[in-house]
Symmetry: C2
Subunit: 403 residues, 2 copies
């Protein structure tokens, strides 16, 4: 943490000025668990977004993508327990009803409201419950209910994911807050994840779009839990300018500070998602270096984090580097077997494509930590890529067996 950037204790999406939130149980989920959240900016906010690149896109994703292009945003309405995906024309109509109902209560236009859903695919939304839920959400809006909203968007998550940082921009105190959900179906471009970032900074629209893309690329696009990409992934950034700073533009000296803070917040959310990965017992930091190009390094990193065999050996705390060799060799990226080095937490397991004389006990100790860092060096060029992922445990399978 540098001097000008500090995490706020109990920070949330309502830590920045001019944001209200609420979370309620609308009856989408069984029992009494919260399943709807509303986030509102007291003044119209510039907004930017990043969405799943899956060709199968949920209704709310299509609607939010469309509305984002129309201008400033006042609110985001979210639900958990139902993804409103693979629900066809009705799914899009239901997502639009959610924005219209929210807009009516807030006295703004439907296209000033974005919408996110997460949960099981293929089941139509219980739209009456949802619309009643929206009215309840509006009534309960408060500037200290960011954490309630963060709880209401959880699905298989076991912990709330939120946080906020404070920084000084042009003499003004600016805050960036965030909430996220996601634990399974997590893979680059992007994850079954939702993340909403709020800031009271004033940021020029085009600039906000650019820094959002960059921050997503270096955070959510670098994590993987199970190699699956969802139909609903959404990252939204709302900047309402309530801090009173002069709107930031690309060429501003302070822009780098804001951009770094945004990346930090997103990376923290990404880490929380991996750290809460379904059934995970270890977090793995994988670094591929020395590849012919960055694209090659990325291809190899993704092949390793997708390999069921590699991930299972991580679960067992087994430094089975042979499986990593197999995965990178099958990745399609350039390599020369006889040049490959692999380290576990700095301990050499492989040198020149072969086992080192390192005592197995030392490697096992490194592979059995709750956080394992693995470095693969191709010794071919300068391409590097880092990813954060989890092991594949029996518990992951149990969680995902189905009903």
């Amino acid at each position: 943490m540098n001097q000008t950037l500090a995490w706020i204790q109990a920070g949330s999406v309502t830590s920045p000025k001019g944001f209200l939130a609420s979370g309620i149980h609308a009856g989408i989920k069984p029992g009494r668990e919260k399943d709807m959240a509303l986030l509102v900016s007291t003044q119209p906010a510039e907004a930017a977004g990043a969405f799943t690149t899956n060709q199968v896109k949920a209704g709310p994703v299509r609607v939010s993508q469309q509305y984002l292009k129309k201008g400033k945003i006042r609110a985001v309405i979210l639900n958990s327990g139902n993804a409103n995906a693979c629900t066809g024309v009705r799914g899009i109509a239901d997502a639009k009803k959610m924005t219209a109902e929210t807009a009516a209560a807030l006295r703004c236009k439907p296209h000033e409201v974005l919408v996110c859903s997460t949960g099981r695919i293929g089941v139509p939304l219980p739209i009456r419950k949802v619309l009643r839920g929206i009215k309840k959400c509006v009534k309960l809006l408060k500037p200290d209910r960011g954490s309630v909203a963060a709880r209401a968007i959880m699905t298989s998550d076991t912990v709330r994911k939120e946080g906020a940082v404070r920084l000084i921009l042009g003499g003004r105190r600016v805050t960036i807050g965030a909430m996220a959900k996601g634990a399974g179906m997590i893979h680059p471009n992007m994850a079954t994840m939702l993340c909403v970032v709020t800031t009271d900074a004033a940021v020029d629209r085009k600039t906000l779009a650019r820094v959002t893309s960059e921050a997503v690329e270096e955070s959510f696009n670098r994590i993987s839990v199970d190699g699956d990409m969802s139909t609903n992934d959404t990252v939204l950034v709302l900047a309402n300018g309530a801090a009173g700073n002069t709107p930031l533009k690309s060429y501003d000296a302070d822009m780098g500070k804001f951009s770094a803070a945004l990346k930090l917040v997103m990376l923290e959310m990404a880490k929380k998602i991996v750290g809460d990965g379904e059934g995970m017992t270890r977090v793995i930091e994988l670094a591929v270096n020395g590849a012919a190009t960055e694209a090659d390094a990325k291809k190899m990193a993704e092949a390793v984090v997708r390999s069921a065999l590699v991930k299972t050996s991580w679960s067992g705390g087994d430094p089975n580097w042979g499986r990593i060799m197999g995965a990178i060799g099958a990745s399609g990226a350039r390599m020369r077997e006889e040049l490959v080095d692999i380290h576990y937490d700095g301990v050499a397991a492989v040198r020149g494509g072969m086992a080192t004389a390192t005592p197995p006990g030392r490697l096992k100790a490194a592979a059995r930590r709750s956080r394992v860092s693995i470095q693969v060096n191709l010794n071919l060029g300068k391409g590097g890529y880092r990813m954060l992922t989890t092991d594949l445990s029996e518990k992951y399978v149990r969680i995902n067996l189905g009903e």
Copy 2:
């Protein structure tokens, strides 16, 4: 089975005339389990092969690829318990020592002997034990020991995989036999699998190479257990001509019959591998049809069989078609969500990208069988692709946790 093609009871690699085999415990595996096998043709055989496309290739793979180019083959020496992969120059030298030792005992040239290894990666072969084992193998050669050899190449396999068919070619009775091993690290191009096919048919060399490639493409390249591709995959076909038929050439009328029989034998071995998939509880037959091209259909089929989430839902017997939609949407192949149909054993789950009104109970019944057939239709074009795969169970994870 048609009239001219019949499975032989207790068929093996020694069912065709002129083949001898043996299997022994050389001490590579702990305990008393067999870990070395030798297969010998009494007369020089034309041979063809298909090998892993992994860039990390085991020593024996490199040696066999090289020797296959030199001409006829007399023997194949195989070991389990150690893959002799990622063992560098020493690994290649050890593989050559295995061929030289075998050749010396059989009084042929080293390059007339092919070599296969399977087992853990990265550990040098205990070469003295292996060379002593070869001598033992040669002494025990018998024309009825195909099954002993099939047992000796098993690793995590729970059952022996072998078989043989008989057919009539140009009035002569011809036999094709095979043995295979493989249960995990199974994915197209190819699998952690070894397969040796023997036949007493006389087949022209170039023709044998062509029909071998075709048969591999339609059998071993269509199966997946865990999406991982090994460093040691090898399929070898030896045709020694002992049946006395006129050597088959590409333009022969009988060639189609031989080619069909070879495919049948390989497909049977492929099915046995999937049926013995590590920790598997169900076999899944996946058919993707109506894709824009066959390449697109293949891309989608491979995305589905690689998805941890889809495979886990299969384990739970959950007809969770939403995960299949997610996987094909993320595959990169062309699709239109609103055109997709998905059936479980002929029961419609999805029509036009959305849930049908089929009672969940009927879908569940289909998804809970030990053999589930799933049909995905993109309704876009004529591209189709079929794959055979397994579910991902807690047991798979347990098996692969490591030592």
